[in-house]
Subunit: 291 residues, 2 copies
């Protein structure tokens, strides 16, 4: 196993190159896509994919295109989410959002391009692998990013704004908008490493609980954090009538629920034979941001 | 081989069902996607895919999810293309465009959803097929719809508006914005039928020439057609400074070039052993619209 920083370095070193490997992309399009793709951040999803694959002794080289594809999907969702017709954000990670730099039309196309590029990269990698692991890993990522996954969560988030927050609605949004894209790397990473069905299911449970904890912590930070730590304006969720766990359960209960979710995530890996300490520790670290 | 109407019936009967087969899609999202997906039209791309597969004796049942996926990709591109930040169209096939009915935010998500659904459908079908044909067919479609294909053509179309029309620019846009998505069904259909590399290449040449002819005819119709036949306002391309073949070559030469492209398309299939008459006739019919 490697350190988080080492996986991160692998991802950072590969993202633009993987995109460019697809062929002759028109320069304006490449620039717009690469602007957001190279904006940094924790790269949590691709790091999780590499670490998950590594946990079970899989090949990091084989996993790398899938890790980069997942970050491209995450990035496309941010570009489209920031558009005036959606969240209308001017800043992302301290820089002007994609449409502020390239215009709305190009931002829509850059998002479409990143999603397309992600799928193309995974399919090319799957053809190269030559067995069904690549197709199954790509299918898991497409499913969790798709109309019953991330896009579904996004729709409920957008249409739910300002409506009465209920535990059921918030849970749906958190499962799909956030947890699905944190489960995808574990599911795909385990599949690429050749895991059996039971192990993949354990990985998915880990990803779900990690994702729920992650979003609860995010909701807490929006209430308790300051702009400097957050890199964005705190209190924005409440101001916009967003459906959050804190709005339904209050701060104290959200802290307890987040801790319980992390515990469930860790327990889910108890019967997985592999170097699970990295993933377990990473889940526990999620809570440090608010405790 | 079947008739065009029979392939069309297969597609029309499967589109919404294939989308619904993906699982529990939020109702508002499903409605917005299905509104545009069920809007009718010639269904040229999915019909071509079924016919291409049938030409070489492949299984129509195996090809159907790929045909539907391709129509979903075509539909997502129309929804995003119609947005105010892009072509800003209020009508499509005589009905209000997606964002006019569901709002811009939902239209963006419906487009994202259709592209995601297309990829998910193909990947599920590829897992079921269990050999590499499905992955290779999906890869061909993703590549031709992607950042070196349709999205690239769309970018050059949007950024080229109002600039000096040159044969090089127009050829690039036609190859990628139009021909790539008409080549994809032939390439994927042939791959699914188990064709060898030489046959797939012949199919791609057919698709390219058909696509170029198709777009030249479209450019001619925009100059010569009337609103009733077109279902849209004629003269729009010129008014918006669109880069068209007619703008570069004039009407007479465009007619000649379209006829030559159809001839090349037909010739490309001469060495393909299979029931190629359907595809050849379909290519020739392209010209009937303007002759």
């Amino acid at each position: 196993m490697k350190t988080y920083a080492e996986y991160l370095t692998m991802v950072e070193g590969a993202l633009s190159a993987q995109l460019a490997s697809l062929g002759e992309i028109p320069q304006q399009l490449f620039e717009a896509m690469d602007y957001s793709l190279s904006a940094g951040g924790k790269r949590l999803r691709p790091v999780l994919l590499l670490a998950a694959c590594d946990t079970l002794g899989g090949s990091l080289e084989e996993a790398l295109p899938f890790a980069c594809a997942l970050e491209m999907i995450h990035t496309y969702s941010l570009i489209h989410d920031d558009l005036p017709a959606m969240d209308n954000d001017d800043l992302r990670r301290g820089r002007p959002t994609n449409h502020k730099v390239y215009g709305e039309g190009m931002a829509i196309l850059a998002g479409d391009g990143l999603l397309s590029a992600a799928m193309e990269l995974m399919l090319r990698a799957a053809v190269r692998l030559g067995d069904l692991r690549g197709v199954r890993a790509a299918e898991a990522i497409a499913r969790r990013a798709g109309v019953c996954g991330m896009v579904a969560g996004q729709v409920m988030d957008v249409t739910g704004e300002g409506s009465e927050p209920t535990a059921e609605k918030v849970d749906y949004i958190h499962r799909h908008k956030t947890a699905d894209l944190l489960t995808a790397p574990i599911e795909a990473g385990f599949i690429l490493a050749g895991a059996d069905t039971v192990t993949v299911a354990a990985g998915c449970e880990f990803g779900l609980q990690l994702g729920l904890a992650f979003q609860m912590v995010d909701d807490l930070l929006d209430v308790e954090g300051d702009a400097a730590t957050l890199g964005k304006t705190p209190g924005k969720d409440a101001a916009e009538g967003k459906l959050t766990w804190v709005a339904v359960k209050g701060i104290a209960q959200t802290r307890l629920d987040a801790a319980a979710a992390v515990e469930q995530a860790v327990r889910a890996l108890d019967d997985v034979s592999g170097e699970t300490n990295f993933l377990k520790t990473l889940a526990q670290t999620t809570l440090n941001r608010v405790q």
